[in-house]
């Protein structure tokens, strides 16, 4: 169970990215977050694993006050929260294996890992996860040799290495073509169901939301403007979320 209450983020330059956002996500739910660019989707996801520190409000993850942990405790919390990104964020000049193994950094002995030594179980786990996302043949390639879809699969494998309870996906398919987008989303959904992972995924397109989301929350200028089932978004609500000018295309 993840509970967000009155979450507010004001950046140093005065921009209010999130404005008293509250919602709950039960374990294992596939929650989609929609909204225009700049509506606060990315900020929201990054507040949960504290890549960004919220200004006010609370985030509770089971009994842990995720919004206020620091130091060692924060590291331990982060390692159970996987994250995938729009730009994949792989380390280009490292191999696929190294990229995937880096998902274990929160678990292993720091000194050994920095000398390039990982437990054999972790290497086996990396192989298994690469097979799971069907890209095991690229294990020794450099990450920058992969195509966009392949990179995102590696990104998912890396997140899976964290044995995550929560997975944050920040527009994971926005840089991919529609066919690949569906394939990645299907994979994500399937893995989430198999491993009982809570997923928070931000998306642009409503058709993806309606096809994959268990539930949807919508942000507009940092405020929560809708919360409910994907098919409850009708034309009126659509215009609330995306503005009066918007046309439905998806």
């Amino acid at each position: 169970m993840l509970r967000v209450t009155n979450l507010t983020k004001i950046y140093d330059d005065g921009t209010k990215a999130l404005d008293r956002v509250s919602f709950e996500v039960p374990r294992g739910q596939f929650l989609t977050v929609v909204g225009l660019s700049g509506s606060g989707k990315s900020t929201l996801l990054r507040c949960i694993n504290r890549l960004i520190d919220p200004t006010e409000g609370e985030i509770w993850w089971n009994d842990l006050q995720l919004s206020h942990v620091t130091g060692e405790e924060l590291r331990r919390a982060r390692r159970r929260i996987g994250m995938i990104f729009q730009q994949f964020n792989l380390v280009d000049r490292s191999s696929v294996l190294t990229n995937v193994l880096s998902g274990r950094l929160g678990y292993v002995n720091p000194i050994a890992s920095m000398l390039g030594r990982f437990p054999t179980e972790d290497v086996a786990m990396a192989r298994a996860n690469l097979e799971r996302v069907r890209i095991a043949d690229k294990i020794n390639n450099r990450a920058d040799e992969l195509s966009g879809g392949q990179k995102q699969r590696v990104g998912i494998a890396r997140a899976l290495m964290q044995e995550p309870e929560i997975m944050l996906a920040d527009e994971p398919v926005a840089s991919l073509d529609p066919v690949l987008a569906h394939s990645i989303m299907r994979q994500l959904k399937q893995i989430a169901q198999e491993d009982n992972i809570t997923v928070l995924v931000s998306l642009h397109f409503l058709d993806l939301v309606q096809q994959y989301g268990d539930r949807v929350i919508a942000l507009n200028e940092g405020r929560l403007v809708f919360e409910g089932k994907p098919n409850e978004i009708d034309d009126r609500r659509f215009k609330e979320i995306y503005g009066q000018e918007a046309e439905r295309i998806g």
């Binding site: 730009q87 964020n89 792989l90 000049r93 274990r104 678990y107 050994a112």
Partner: protein, 613 residues
Amino acid sequence: MARRRKKEQLSPGLRALRTIGIVVVLFLIYTFAVQDTEINLKEPLEPRRQETAIRVLRALARPDFFTYDEEIRSMDITIRMPCGDEIKGSQTSLGERVVTLAPNCASTTQEILTLTGSGFRPRTSGLLRWHPPGAIATTRALTTFRTDADGRFEIEFAMPDIRPTDEPQRIEVEEKWQTGISGLSTASIITLEKITETILLALLATTVGTILSIPISFISARNLMETVGSPLAAVMSGVVALVIGYWGGRELTSLLISGSLLLGSSSMVQLGGAVVLFAAAWGSLRVGPSVISTKEQTTRSALIALGRVAGATILALSGIAFLSRVGMVFGLWLAELLGPFGFIGSFFALAAEFFLVAAPGIVGFILGMMTLSYGSRFGQEAVLRWPAAPARLLTIIATGLGTAVLVWGFGAMVNWLYVIDNPLNWTLYPALIGGGLGAAAAAFITPKRLMPVGLITYTVVRSILNVIRSIEPLVYVITFAVWVGIGPFAGVLALTLHTVAALGKLFSEQVENISEGPLEAITATGATALQRVVFAVIPQIVPPYIAFTLYRWDINVRMSTIIGFGGGGGIGFVLAQAINLLQYRQAAVMMIAIAIVVGTLDYISSEVRSRIL
């Protein structure tokens, strides 16, 4: 959001006025600059200066590369001093060569004599030499000449001195030309020797400078440092731990080094001791579970591993101390044995001696860094986890101690630097007062509040780098020459210092330019700060680091050519000498060598850079 000052709307008249004002101000600045830099036409147009400049230019144009085989041919003509009643010319011939001297006598040093010749070797330089009468055979050069394309010449000269005799006196007309290269000139040999020294000097400075600047570049990269924040208690317990660690490491190593003499100074015993100690160190790491477990460790197992590593390190350090004693003897012996490759032996001897001298400081520094890390981690975790009251107490105690240590250190430095010689007033009392004030101030601080340590470190390190970088190596070398003597060693130190500062800044800018995405992704996995650097930063900065290192090596070669002007050895040292002795032809050889080396390295490094990037 960037806020830009709103541009004022000026009327066209005012704008024209402003433009005129700017032009006038610029004109004034430039005219003053011309006066201030003493630009004038009087000096350069003065004939004597022009002549000198042309002479230097011509000498530079004829670099003294080689020694030549020469052929000399001479013939004589006679002259009378003083003149008799009848003044006439005289002519002599030898084979095809004919010389005519008119008049053939001189009574004063003012009389102009004319010598013409024909049938000589075309376009050849020659010398007129007078053999003054007297018991001691001496000669005096009168003037030089150069024959034209037909082998003719005509010169005017005056006798430098009048030595009246009854007999005619001999004037020798000598031609001299080069028939072939017989070898390298002394200037060329010195140049080769010194240009090698220059390149090696630059190599050492670049290598050491690069290694030192890498860690510095991380702590002076804003993007890595600005997120680093610690509670006050963590910072202060880190400071205290750093001092304890440094002091402990230094004392321990000194003890180990003096301990290496306990077994006597026999080399065999020393060597045996070293072998036993290394074996013990290796054994303590190998027996039992692996020290570097790849798994996450419990505090207990981490402590045990730490203890074993510490034990092995102590054993290995004293092993190295033993080995260094042997190494000094062995190195000197090897140096004698190897003859021309004796430098290998000298290197071992030097390395061994360096270890014995520098090890306490280095080990102290490393241990200090480790205890700093542990101390601040302890402070951080304690303050964040403990309840408010003990956390506050820890903050107060740590801050008091930390401030006292800092004040003590600063006071001791001032006391030493200005030779105040009053340690009590400058260390103990200020430390007590400072510690007390610090502790009192800490009582009013929220213990969990994060201090921007990262940003402070960044600012301090960057400022120091900027200061060091803004002073040229030529200035440093003068200082270093005082310490280590004039020569290439001073040059190496000066260039190294400047390289650390310059590369530290360039490197850290590369760290700041990395793409943030991977760093964010690695952070999200729960990685520690060091893991983030190793897994997200380093892979991204390898190519630019190599490129900048090459670029710096290039700069260092160029700098090391002039560093000799300040006493730093290398080609600059002999070039400065040649210029001061007005040996422009020799100087020309050196300048050409510099141009070739710098040009070649420039080309190579740009080739390598273009392949890496």
